[in-house]
Subunit: 270 residues, 2 copies
Amino acid sequence: MILVNGDYREHIEISDRGFQYGDGLFETIAVSNGHPVFLDQHLARLKAGCRRLYLPFPGAELLTLEAQKLSGSSEKAVLKLILTRGSGGRGYRQPDTIQTTRVLSLHPYPDYPDSYKEQGINARFCDIRLGLNPALAGIKHLNRLEQILARAEWADPAIQEGIMLDMNAQVIEGTMTNLFYVKNNTLYTASLTLAGVAGIIRGIILALCASHNLVVIEHSYTKDELLLADEVFVCNSVIGIWPVKQIAATYFPVGAKTRQLQTLLTEFQS
Amino acid sequence: MILVNGDYREHIEISDRGFQYGDGLFETIAVSNGHPVFLDQHLARLKAGCRRLYLPFPGAELLTLEAQKLSGSSEKAVLKLILTRGSGGRGYRQPDTIQTTRVLSLHPYPDYPDSYKEQGINARFCDIRLGLNPALAGIKHLNRLEQILARAEWADPAIQEGIMLDMNAQVIEGTMTNLFYVKNNTLYTASLTLAGVAGIIRGIILALCASHNLVVIEHSYTKDELLLADEVFVCNSVIGIWPVKQIAATYFPVGAKTRQLQTLLTEFQS
């Protein structure tokens, strides 16, 4: 089921700048019991992304209406929202009047086994690095070749996520997740000023830490620092929080902080 | 007129990874007297891009046939060829069997005045920087938000091109062109190992220099070095070579090397 600018369609114009240049943004939203989860946060991020890419934001009311229309009959699903600069303009130059294209589509919820959430996952380090660009850092935009090349590095089904470093060899995130680690009871995650996507669950975790007196530090850190962690976990809107039990040859326990945040996130959602 | 996998169509599936992630490549080809200009070079670059992105190349014969089919009746036009990873896969992960989508579309030739080629153009420096990524450098891929943000920086019609620096403050290229400069009879252009698009005309100019005993150096250079140049020009497949007569407050003459290369390029094309 796909809604394009409010109409049920399966196709998009070839001239759409989303297709021509990746000129747009997207959100991947979990649907639970007929409701898009954390929809307000997703729409707030989309709006912030629009400001950074000079895209007119279609309005939270309209997008909420359409999101609910698609999600209403699904117990568990994934809702994807794509917003592009539409058609027009001359080459890279955007049109004088931008008519965005909004695409909402509903997808089956991935069949991840419960063990990922409970016992944790295996991760690897990816070879391809994330480029540095403050103008695009943090935004969930449609230019995702780095993630695609990273995900193409392994086919082993025993490995669930790849960890990406930036060009300065600093750990940034997973291919589809943000990454946190715990060391001596303090939480750490990458600062996303030069690369990376500022995930919704990452933002909620930062807020939950603040409201529950958990110390969390956004900073720049290396592979070696990560491998010395007491606990590691990844997060995104579809999976919630998955402990990481192994990165390459290093093993991690599923620790108390990870469990605490899983619980806090579940409580916050309901 | 648009050919999608050989059929006349105006739309593409929303699930296409070109639309979802910018997962693909493109070529912009001049059409002159019914023929796609430098088609072999464009297809060779496309093939090289396919290797770097793990995309199956559809074959030069098929693409040549389709390119000629679209171009046949046009005296002067622009042919755009987009090749994507098609639909399928799971998130960033590519499908096990990749069925590429190829889109060839014909567009009117832009109405650039002759003065651009003859007397030169005005350029400015863009604020947004090109991110560094050797895995994507040189490839003409569909992730073009940096160029779009750069082109959105100015609306003054008296300025025809914006010059982009990378995150290390090295000059790389124009938003839609490659850049050369001349100093003491030597030609210089940016090396594209960390950022930039390896343009077809850039490649032909390098080859023409080699065959005509013109010294050309690919290197890393700053804004200040560029502003001390004797001549500056930009190039791409649609415009050929345009002298640059002004960058910000600095003026340049249209020099002998620029004229020589314009002539060599015209001769090479015919």
